[in-house]
């Protein structure tokens, strides 16, 4: 099978798995910080997977690559920090 098709299909499987894991975590993790950390780490990981493997972020110049990867990480850290503080 075509390598690009294989990578994109594996990415889709990982996205589905991570989405189900995040919903599972809600009913199985009782520690709030651990729960929020897990949920947001999964969200950031999924966003980076889409950016890299669906949107071909790797083909862009380094500054744009860092901008989008940094954006995904920043959103996750921001939401985690506010949730942990409240």
């Amino acid at each position: 099978m075509d390598r690009l098709v294989l990578i994109r299909s594996a990415t889709w499987a990982a996205l589905v798995g991570a989405t189900i894991c995040s919903a599972w975590a809600v009913s199985h993790l009782s520690n709030q910080a651990a729960l929020v950390g897990t949920i947001m780490a999964l969200a950031a990981g999924k966003a980076v997977l889409v950016l890299r493997n669906f949107m071909d972020l790797g083909k862009l110049p380094a500054p744009l690559r860092w901008l989008f990867t940094g954006w995904a990480a920043s959103c996750a850290v921001l939401i985690f920090t506010f949730a942990a503080l409240s």
Binding site: R8, A43, M55, L64, A83
Partner: protein, 192 residues
């Protein structure tokens, strides 16, 4: 030769342009996320109680719909690169059909909320809920229109895929990425 060079230069100029737009849009949403979370920090009990009124199953289903639709669009772009426009078109149609499910579930969700008397005026959480999901839905609706245009551009008989298809696919993926943060922020944060 000259035509090929012209196409190349259009492509080279187009991609950074669409990425600039995507970057600006992403930063706009990051500001939305920050404002929502700062308001949540001021009234965590109210936001948690309100978040419990959302149906996680609908949010989960919509996430799976968008990632599956995005995967089919990504496959379509891979097939276009290999000159297989017919199969790419089928993938795009699949992405459109599956992606349409997001609208169906969102309408069901909005209808259920409004039927229970929950509106943007109910409280701060639901003001943000309707604004954030509404702005995202607007992006999504434009994305659906873009997918329809992409399918039309690949109609049987067309020899070469237009260069803008890549920009359309990137836009659809951004709709997906934005939802990947909206889903946990609105539906999954502690409160359930």
């Amino acid at each position: 030769m000259a035509e090929a060079m012209a196409e190349e230069s259009v492509d080279a100029g187009e991609t950074p342009g669409v990425w600039t737009f995507l970057a600006a849009d992403s930063v706009g949403f990051a500001i939305f996320f920050a404002v929502f979370m700062s308001e949540r920090a001021k009234a965590p009990a109210l936001f948690d109680q309100s978040a419990r009124m959302l149906d996680i199953r609908l949010g989960l289903a919509n996430t799976l719909i968008l990632v599956t639709s995005g995967w089919l669009v990504a496959l379509a772009m891979a097939l276009i690169q290999r000159g297989r426009a017919g199969r790419a078109r089928l993938c795009l149609i699949g992405g459109l059909v599956i992606g349409s499910g997001f609208a169906v579930l969102k309408v069901i969700e909005y209808h259920a909320k409004i039927a229970h008397g929950i509106t943007p005026a109910t409280n701060g959480f639901f003001t943000f809920y309707f604004i954030l999901t509404g702005v995202h839905f607007l992006h999504y609706a434009i994305g659906l229109g873009v997918l329809v245009a992409m399918i039309a551009a690949l109609r049987p008989g067309v020899r070469a895929a237009p260069q803008w298809l890549e920009s359309g696919a990137l836009y659809w993926h951004l709709v997906d990425v934005l939802w990947l943060f909206l889903f946990p922020m609105l539906y999954l944060l502690p409160g359930h």
